[in-house]
């Protein structure tokens, strides 16, 4: 159950003087059960890339396969593919349309052709998974808060029970608590249901703590594809691409520069706290 991209190119508005070469010769394999962080500056082609993965954009050139089958091959059912590869769009709350939250979440499973009971069960589970309160199931999706809308929209895709879940900047515009909640939810889906996750983001802080593999894009090409710790060693290159390391990594680097013996490649707050505490203890004991 893996996905591969071979020499995928995407050119928008091809025959005009404002054509954009949004993806340049992308080669990529997405294995089962991975948690991938996809990161890059604004306009580098992250959204374009993820929309190729479930067949929403047809590559100008190149091959995309799902479980070894060409997704544009004869007889391949792309509608079914979209049930296996769930994509939560950037600002997904703009796609809500039903009278109440619950029906909106039912939309995806209904399109999969499931029977009523299964549809409702899935919608219920999905809303529960995102932590949406039961008593608000009947409220209009236009009247709940922005953060709640985001949860409903994510539930709308979760209810389709995808094998691969792609989230395009799911934390954009949320407060720290909302971000934490959503990231925690994604990480739980990965741990407990061993779902393959692709998390698109601008912010290293968001992905650093969760992703096992980091793909960095720059102007339509893949610049790095490695473990986060390895990627973060290229500080100067990342900064030249308009990206930054996680905040804690900067702190650790400053500490190291000032003569403290710490690991300066740490990327999460918990690791950093442990390192600093153990350093403190070793000095004062």
């Amino acid at each position: 159950m893996s996905m591969t991209l071979e020499h995928v190119n995407c050119i928008y508005s091809a025959d005009t003087n404002h054509s954009v070469h949004a993806l340049k010769d992308i080669c990529l394999t997405i294995n089962d059960g991975e948690f991938i962080g996809l990161i890059g500056h604004t306009g580098c082609g992250k959204s374009t890339l993820v929309q190729h993965l479930n067949g929403l954009i047809r590559p100008t050139d190149g091959l995309i396969t799902y479980n070894g089958q060409d997704i544009y091959g004869k007889g391949f059912n792309r509608k079914e593919l979209r049930g296996h590869v769930g994509l939560v769009f950037q600002y997904p709350e703009h796609q809500l349309f039903e009278n109440d939250v619950f029906s909106d979440v039912c939309f995806g499973p209904i399109n999969l052709g499931l029977d009523r009971k299964e549809v409702e069960l899935r919608a219920y589970e999905a809303l529960h998974a995102v932590g949406f309160p039961d008593e608000d199931f009947e409220s209009s999706p236009f009247e709940i808060s922005g953060g709640q809308k985001r949860r409903v929209a994510i539930a709308g895709v979760l209810a389709m029970k995808p094998d691969i879940l792609i989230l395009d900047e799911p934390t954009a515009g949320l407060d720290p608590k909302g971000r934490e909640d959503i990231l925690e939810l994604i990480s739980r889906l990965h741990r407990e249901n061993s779902m393959t996750i692709i998390l698109v983001s601008h912010s290293m802080d968001d992905v650093a703590g969760y992703a096992e593999r980091l793909i960095v894009m720059d102007h339509g090409s893949i610049a790095y594809d490695d473990k986060p710790q390895e990627v973060f060693k290229n500080v100067r290159e990342l900064e030249a691409m308009g990206l930054a390391l996680p905040e804690v990594t900067y702190i650790m680097r400053t500490l190291k520069r000032n003569g403290y013996d710490v690991d300066d490649t740490l990327t999460t707050i918990d690791e950093a706290v442990d390192a600093i505490v153990s350093l403190y203890k070793s000095r004062h004991s």
Binding site: D15, T16, N17, H18, Q51, N54, L56, K79, R82, G83, G86, L87, V88, F89, P92, H94, Q95, L96, F97, F107, G108, I110, N111, L112, F142, G156, V157, M160
Partner: protein, 266 residues
Amino acid sequence: MIREITIGQYYDEESVIHRLDPRVKLVATLIYIISIFVVNNIPGYAFVVVFLGICIALSHVPFKFIVKGLKPVMIILFITIAFNMLLTPGEILWKFWILKISREGLKAGATMALRLTLLITGSSLMTLTTTPNNLTDGMERLLRPLTRIRVPVHEIAMMMSIALRFIPILLEETDIIMKAQMARGADFESGNIFRRAKALVPLLVPLFVSAFRRANDLAMAMEARCYRGGEGRTKMKPLKYNGRDYAAYAIVWLFLAGCIVLRIVL
């Protein structure tokens, strides 16, 4: 997908046509439209086609791009041709059941199709080479005399420029919402007409919601900057005629004269 629609879009390029004053382009388009209905014989049409061809070449807009803009109106074109062919009485060329095609009908259909194509191509050349802001500025200036008889010219121009500005935004939005619903398994392409109409609900509801939200935001932003209509309002870049604008005026009038001559003489 839907972003392929190019009608009413601006195509950014450097060219003589792009640099012309919008008033010239508006008047020229009007004259051009009149001339399409003036000519009535093959040399006449050839003259118009050549004139349009030269304008397109001068504008540096790729011919392919213009043809792409014609696609959405193809259906209307075909319907017009079909009706003209089938319903015009005259010498019968071909008959099948109750369908009859007459020589006159064939001619009328062909003429109509040619005229419509020329009309649409010509007027889209104007929108392709003029930014929406320039276009409405030109319109406002040309219609200014009407303010004397209390026509709210500035307001009309403002509404037009907002509407034009919103076309690409709403198209982009439609594209995104459509894809987002397709990601949830929506199907906009198959099924009979009723199913397809029903399939549009998940697209139209969010689209309307967002259009109203945008309209609301825009109104708020205008009020925050104390917008209060056209009275006493000055322009940042007032329109000014140049040498090439007068030359362009002369050329289009000559063109119209040419069309009239071709009609009378031949």
